[in-house]
Amino acid sequence: MRLELGIIEIDDVQFGDETRVEDGTLYVNREELIDLALQDDRLAGADVELARRGEEVRIIPVKDVIEPRVKVSGPGEIFPGVIGKVGTVGSGRTNVLRGAALVTVGRIVGFQEGLIDMSGPGAPYSPFSRTNNVALILRPTDGLAPYAHEEAVRLAGLRAAVYLGKAGTDVAPDEVEVYELSPVTDAALPRVAYVHPLLAQGLLHDTYLYGVDAKKILPTLIHPNEVMDGAIVSGNCVSACDKHTTYHHVNNAAIQELYRRHGKDLNFIGVIITNLKVTLADKERASDYASNLAKLIGAEGAIVTNEGFGNPDTDLMMLCKKMKAYGIETVLITDEFAGRDGGSQSLADATPEASAVVSVGNANEVVTLSPMKRIIGDLKPAEVIAGGFAGCLAADGGLNVEIQSIMGSTCQLGLGKLAARGW
C-alpha cells in the first residue's frame, strides 16, 4: 500500500467569488459553504469567518478541526463510510491543503468544547493557532437533542472540509510525501506495533472507523496509511486538550514518527485499533484482544497512545500489563490531571508495569489568556466548558483557564512539545 500525500502549502485564507487555491492562498466562497452546511435541516443557521495565524482572534467554542484534502488518484474517497463511499483508503494520491483547517464552532453541545487563540499566551499550546482557519459557525434548530446536534455539526464540518479540499485537485503540490511500509531487510531491527485506542464511551464520546461506531468494533489491525488517509473520524466531545480531532487522526504523530524511524531504527509492523469503552467487561475484552493481536503479529515493542482521561487510564494500564505478560515492551503516551497546583497524583489508575511513560502535560495547569480583538463564536461558554470555572472570564475578555480548555494542548498522540516534569 503506497500513499502519496501532495502537500500544498497554504499560508493565507481569504474570501473570494470562487473557492480555489492560488499562490498559497485559499479563497473561500462564503455562500456556497453556508448553503452546504444548511443542507441538513437540523441546522437553522450558518456563518463563516476566517482566522489567520498571528491575528488577535479567539475561536470558541470549538468542536472539531478538519484538514481539507482531496483524493486525486487511487481507490477510496475522503472520509469513507461517513462522507465518501465505503472503500479502502490509504493508497494513490491525496492532495492536502497543509496550513489550512476547517473549524466547527457554535452553541455548546456538551461542555467539552474548546478554544483556539490565534496569538498571545494561548497560541503555543494549540497546533490550530498555527493553521489558517475557516471557522464554520453552526446554529442548531430549537430543541435539537445534544446527540443530534453533535451529529449535524460533525457532518457539516466534514462536508465543508471535503468541499474546501476539492480546491486542491488541480494544484501542483509543493512537496510529495510517500508512505509505504516497505519490507525491512535488517532482521535485527525491533518489531514495533502501534496500539491506537479510540474513545468510544457513548454519550457524546464517540469515534468512527470507516463509518462504524467504534463502540461496536472488536480491536482490529489496520494499515497506517488508512488512518493517514481519513479512515477515522472524530465525533466526540471529550475535553478540548486531549480529544483527537479529525485533523489529529490524519496527522497522527505516533504513526508519522514510527514511519520516520521505519527501516532505520525499527521495523514498524502495523497499527492495532482498539476502543475505550465504559464497562469493566468491555475493557477486559478490548485489552485482551488488542494484546493478542500484538502477539500474533510478532510485536516486540509497542507505542500505546490514549484519548481522554480518567476512565481510559484503566484501559491504558490493562493494555500495558497484558502486553508485558506476553513479553512485549510498551511506552505509553498520556497527559496528566495533577490539579491546578500540580500536587496531586495524575492518573486514575496505575500499574507497576507502566515503567515507561511519556507525559504530554498537566491539563489542569492554569494559564492567563489576554483579551482578543475579535471573538469568533461566543465567549460566554468559557466559564462552563471543561477547564473553565465560575469567574474565569474577566470583564475585559481575558481568561484564566486550565489548559484543558485549549484545543489539542495535551495531545496524547504526541503531536505537541509540552511535557510535565517533576518539580
Binding site: A390, Q404, L418
Partner: protein
Amino acid sequence: MAEKKFRVVHYLNQFFAQIGGEEKANIPPLIREGAVGPGRVLQKILGEEGEVVATVVCGDGYFAENIEAAAERVVELASSYKPDVFVAGPAFNAGRYGVACGGSCSAVSEKLGIPVVTAMYEENPALDLYRKEVYIIPTADSARGMREAILKMATFVRKMGLGQEIGPPQEEGYFPRGLRVNQFVDRTGAERAVDMLLLKLKGEPFQTEYPMPTFERVPPSPAIRDLRSATIALVTSGGIVPSGNPDRIEAASASKFAEYSIAGVDDLTSDAYQTCHGGYDPVYANEDPDRVLPLDAARSLEKDGAIGKLYDLYYVTVGNATSVASAQKFGKAIAEKLKAADVDGVILTST
C-alpha cells in the same frame, strides 16, 4: 558597589548556635544580631552581595512540642529584620531539627512571602512533611557534611536574594517537591516515546516522564449487620444538583462539593433537578435525575423497611477531570459530616 545587599535571616537550633546540647533543647525562640556558627561560613560565601542580618535560635525540643506557636514566634522575630531570604539548618538527619527547619521555613514563606530554603538528609522524616512547600537541599547524614551543605545552600540563597528563578530539581539539585509542572521541550511527545521505546528494547537505561504513583487503598468497612435500623445516605460524583446549579459546581475539575436537603422529596424530577457534570451527554440524567442519584429507589427501600431511614441530606460533586487530591479532600470532609450525623452507610454513585 552601589547595589543594596540582600538581607538574610538564618535559623539554627541551640546546638549549632553554640548555646548548649540536649539540656538547652527547651529554650524558646530568640534572635541574635548577625551570623552565628555555620552562618559565618554562609556570610563568607555571600561576600558583598548579601548579608546575614540575624540568626533565629530555638531549642529542638521546644519547637517539636510547640510547632505552631514556635513557628509563629520565629516569623515575628525574623520579620523585624526585614529579610529578603530565609534559610534554615542544615538539619542533616536530626528529626526534631528537621521539623524546626521545615516548619519555620514553611511559616515564613506563608506569612512573609519571601523565598525560603533548608537542607537535610534524605531519610530525615521532616523531608516528606515539608518538601511540597519548601525547597530542601540534600545533605550528608551528619555534620561531617557541613561544608558541602553550606556551599549548596549559599548558591540557593544567592539566587533567591538576587531574584533569580529557581529551575527544576534535576538542574538545581533540591529534593523534587512532588509537583507536576508543564514546560515546552525540544522534542514532540511521539519522538520522545519512540526514543524511550528503543532504549527499553535495547535494555539500556531510560527515564520515564511519570513514575507510577502508589494508590491509597481504602479497606472496605465491615458489612452493616442490620440494614433495617440503619441510616443510609446518598452521595454522588455524577453532578446531580437543584436546577440552576446554585453553588456553581464546575462541569470539570470541581473545586467543591455541595450539600442539599432531600427531606420530603420522593422523586427527583426534571423540573427541579439537573446534572452539572460535563463528562457525558446530560439528556438522560436531566430527563430523570434518579438515574444518577437513585432517590426513588432508596425511598421505596425505606418505605418497605429494607433500610431504617434515608438521611435527609445528600452530597454531590463532579468527578470529571477532578484531581485525586481534590477528590480525597472532598471525600474526607463528606465522611466527617456523615459520621457526625450518625449515618451508618452510604450509596455512592459515579458516572
